[in-house]
């Protein structure tokens, strides 16, 4: 990974404690403790952070053990290994990433709105609507008109294994 940030923690270096700042950090070594950054933290494939992170953006290719909050984006790339809670309005998990913990992009957009992938940037949860139950809709009259598709639902207890 080409290092572009002015601040770089080299592969054989460990920074233990509290790191604060207002610029990007490329981590090729190790951090232990906490990071509070107005900027992007990039954790390289061979790097490791055992730390709680509050950053603008987080790009993980290595190991993170700790909780992370980002005001913009958290991205776990294919070599990422993360244990901890991740909170950000936008979180991307790429094929190959391994993760264990909370993945929280906030409450789901209201069902009646079209999904707004790039717009849900509020880290705080939206009030009121519980996302667990779809809005009630009038009963549909279609089901009986589909003879070619055998219904696969049946009362609990039976097994049917119909083709979908």
């Amino acid at each position: 990974m080409a290092s572009k940030a002015a601040t770089t923690i080299a592969a054989g270096t460990v920074v233990a404690g509290r790191i604060e700042g207002a610029e990007d950090i490329d981590l090729l070594g190790r951090i232990e403790g906490s990071v509070h950054l107005k900027g992007a933290l990039r954790i390289d494939e061979k790097a490791r952070a055992d730390a709680d992170l509050e950053v603008t953006r987080l790009e993980i290719r290595g190991i993170l053990v700790g909780n992370a909050t980002a005001t913009d984006t958290i991205e776990l790339l294919g070599t990422a290994r993360v244990i901890g809670d991740l909170v950000a309005p936008r979180i991307i998990v790429r094929e190959g990433a391994r993760f264990r913990g909370l993945l929280d992009m906030g409450d789901a957009p209201d069902e009646d709105d079209a999904p707004r992938p790039a717009q849900a940037r509020r880290p705080a949860p939206t009030p009121a609507r519980t996302p667990t139950r779809p809005a009630a809709t009038p009963p549909r009259t279609a089901p009986a008109a589909r003879p070619a598709r055998p219904a696969t639902a049946r009362p609990e207890g039976e097994d049917a294994g119909e083709e979908p």
Binding site: I83, G84, R100, G101, A108, E111, T132, R140, E156, G161
Partner: protein
Amino acid sequence: MIGPGITIRGTIAGDEDLQVEGRIEGAVQITRDLLVAEGARVAATVEAAAVTVRGRLLGDVAAGDGVVVESGAVLVGNVTTSRLVVADGAHFKGRVQMDFEVPGADAPRASSTNRRR
């Protein structure tokens, strides 16, 4: 396949792939793959081999082969799986459990059932 005009309340079980374009409320227990198509609304606990979400899935998911949440899709629920992809533009909220080791990991708040000495 559950068409877009169909709402099912109850448990769906089987040994076939299941493609949902309508609505399900309840539970899905299948040994093969579940596809929640765009526009579909599933409020159910799900057990399947692999789960792909293009629409909306609210409920806990156990999918041994993997879970993919595509752009524009919504998954709210806890997920236990071996593989997870959350695309740019997807919406996800829930706990994720994947079985893997990180040497010397002392998970601060996430539950860690695999602690290596």
